[in-house]
């Protein structure tokens, strides 16, 4: 009982200090709360605006050749979203400089060739990867294809054949799973990625402040002169770091969920029914993700405390912990990559396993054998990290490395 009381005394004091520290509040509460609405609406609005503008404005295109194909040229010129500019020989430079978005090269005798059942080759020159150029090329292609279809249609009609000969079969891809699952599969990887990243960022500042920061402010000796056992002291600190880690992760996921739910009313995503949140946030999903996030947060909190304990100053701790972000990011990103799925081996890889499990939970898939395996293995890693943190806190050479 006395040990729990002491751990709680340390925890309460650390919490009081953390709540009075602007840097902790910003990193644990303000950033996770604001980052996603700003990202979702700011970035989302920008993307929607940019795509909208590109779709609204006519594309500047150039026609090469086509002197003997007046109909198709006329169709291009009369296209309402196409503006034909005069022909110039330096069209490659013009595309490269984004002055012309696409150039269509109509071969000699194009119309005659189609009329005689030939296969004339039309080339469209464009700036690959440039959104406006892609849109322009698509628009040109659409006009040319429409011309081809109308020509073939006429030829079929002349021979009293049905239009369906042009497209002898029809293929339709049909989604049979719920819109929530579609959304989960499309964007679900983001939740674990975010939860794991935020567990890390949330723990980072307090872990440094409570160890290296304490050394730097010369309060380590003050607290070590009190009768509290070092194990209780490090556990009190650990629980504060864990609280910060989970708070940051929880606020981030909720803030992201709310932002994307709000966004789904404004932005239509292919395959997802209107009004369905882009990222589904059912209570069971949130509980599941947090159940997995707890051992991950324990692992991060204990590891970050252990590492920053070796630093003499806050700055030194920062230089030790910054590379840790990349160590965590790589496996967390792994789960977002398409095609990476849970296997018994991957279920033992820390971080990646939790990330993949969260992705499954978000889509409503529960492989209980994996859930047990991942929870158990992550808990073992977390326990080892916590054990190391406690051990390091007993070492004079680590505590007094000033």
């Amino acid at each position: 009982m006395a040990s729990i009381r002491n751990i709680f005394i340390v925890y309460r004091k650390e919490l009081t200090e953390a709540l009075r520290d602007r840097r902790t509040l910003v990193s644990s509460i303000v950033i996770p709360l604001l980052a996603f609405p700003v990202l979702a609406f700011g970035l989302g609005y920008m993307v929607v605006e940019l795509i909208g503008e590109a779709n609204r404005l006519p594309s500047r295109i150039m026609i090469l050749g086509g002197e003997d194909s007046a109909d198709v040229v006329a169709r291009l010129k009369s296209g309402k979203d196409i503006r034909v500019v005069p022909t110039a020989s330096n069209y490659v430079d013009l595309i490269s400089d984004k002055k012309v978005r696409a150039v269509v090269d109509i071969p000699e005798g194009f119309q005659d060739s189609i009329a005689q059942g030939g296969r004339p080759e039309v080339k469209i020159y464009m700036f690959s990867g440039d959104m406006k150029s892609t849109i322009a090329a698509n628009r040109v292609e659409k006009v040319i294809l429409a011309y081809r279809d109308s020509e073939i249609s006429q030829q079929l009609a002349a021979q009293h054949l049905p239009d369906s000969l042009m497209k002898p079969l029809k293929i339709e891809q049909k989604n049979v799973v719920s819109p929530e699952k579609v959304a989960g599969e499309t964007f679900g990887g983001l939740i674990p990625y975010l939860a794991i990243l935020m567990c890390m960022t949330g723990a980072m500042y307090p872990a440094m402040d409570l160890t290296a920061g304490e050394k730097e402010r010369a309060t380590m000796e003050t607290i070590l002169s009190s009768p509290i056992k070092r194990t209780h002291l490090v556990l009190g600190k650990f629980f504060l770091v864990l609280t910060a880690s989970l708070t940051t992760a929880m606020l981030s996921v909720l803030s992201m969920g709310a932002s994307f739910a709000a966004m789904s009313h404004f932005v239509k995503v292919e395959g997802v029914a209107e009004g369905v949140p882009i990222i589904p946030m059912h209570v069971s999903t949130v509980v599941g993700v947090f159940a997995v996030a707890v051992p991950i947060a324990v692992l991060f909190s204990a590891t970050l405390i252990t590492i920053s304990l070796f630093a003499k100053t806050f700055k030194e701790a920062q230089s030790y912990l910054t590379p840790m972000t990349f160590v965590v990011l790589v496996p967390a990103i792994g789960a977002v990559l398409p095609g990476v799925e849970l296997t018994p081996k991957l279920a033992l890889v820390p971080i990646l396993n939790a990330s993949l499990l969260c992705k499954e939970l978000v889509t409503g898939t529960y492989h209980w054998n994996y859930i047990v395996l991942i929870f158990a293995s992550t808990s073992v890693y977390a326990a080892v990290a916590l054990f190391l943190a406690v051990k390091m806190f007993q070492r004079e050479s680590v505590l007094f490395s000033t």
């Binding site: 340390v10 009081t16 520290d21 010369a218 000796e221 003050t222 070590l224 002169s225 009190s226 009768p227």
Partner: protein
């Protein structure tokens, strides 16, 4: 009561190899007495006092503080010790009152005893004007008073002061030296390290001169004067230390 028995501390340094910071030191401090540990920088004063406060563990030997062994019962030793040094800073984001309460709680005091004791200490040290001010907003003098309050909150029988006046102005240093005298008057066992001769002359009942981790001389001021044949403490100190003095390296 503090009984130091053949206390030693060795450190390992990558460049210099083994360092004997404290080497077989033995002495005794009694209640109602101030024991002054006098030594140059790097002599082993801080390491000795840190071992008595159980912040560091001895490599060899031991010490018994209020009947508790520093190696076997470090928590019980700390519960009987008030430790104050220039390296024992305050938590900047706690108020003076919260800080003292925190240490009272860590010492196992219940809330009503704690509040009574905090009120009494704050009255006695005239701290009520800044009791709810954060420690990072306190002046040096206020900080020292808060540190003193922290060491007193659990009413320890033993007080350990490691160069407590280092870097302080005269008025603030005086608050500390007055407090050390008061501790003796209250019957506490006081051990105090310094390299300021005037403080030793003014405060200490027994003086131990330490150099290279070894206790080279010990006695009352009168005994040391008689042994060295010198009146001035600084002369006595130099006479004792000079044959053993080695310029300390930074560590």
């Amino acid at each position: 009561m503090i009984e130091v028995r053949n206390l030693s501390k060795r450190f390992h340094d990558k460049k210099r190899g083994e360092i004997r910071a404290v080497d077989g030191v033995s002495f005794c401090c009694r209640p109602g007495q101030i024991y002054g540990l006098l030594g140059a920088n790097g002599a082993g004063k801080t390491t000795t006092l840190r071992m008595l406060a159980t912040i560091l563990e001895p490599t060899d030997g031991t010490a018994v503080v209020c009947g508790h062994d520093v190696v076997d019962e470090p928590e019980k030793v700390r519960a009987n010790v008030g430790f104050l040094s220039t390296a024992t800073a305050l938590y900047p984001r706690l108020t003076a009152r919260e800080l003292v309460q925190y240490f009272g709680r860590l010492n196992g005091l219940d809330e009503s005893t704690l509040n009574q004791r905090v009120d009494r200490i704050f009255d006695r040290l005239d701290m009520n004007g800044f009791r709810d001010r954060r420690c990072d907003k306190l002046s040096t003098g206020m900080k020292q008073k808060t540190s003193i309050a922290r060491t007193l909150v659990h009413d320890p029988a033993v007080m350990i002061f490691d160069e407590p006046t280092l870097g302080l102005d005269i008025m603030t240093a005086r608050t500390i030296t007055t407090f050390i005298s008061e501790c003796r008057n209250l019957g506490k066992t006081v051990i105090f390290s310094t390299h300021i001769m005037s403080e030793v002359e003014k405060l200490c009942d027994v003086i131990g001169i330490i150099q290279n981790g070894k206790l080279l001389a010990e006695g009352t001021l009168a005994q040391l004067r008689e042994k060295a044949g010198e009146q001035d403490l600084e002369e006595i100190f130099v006479k004792v230390v000079a044959p053993h003095y080695v310029q300390p390296e930074d560590h």
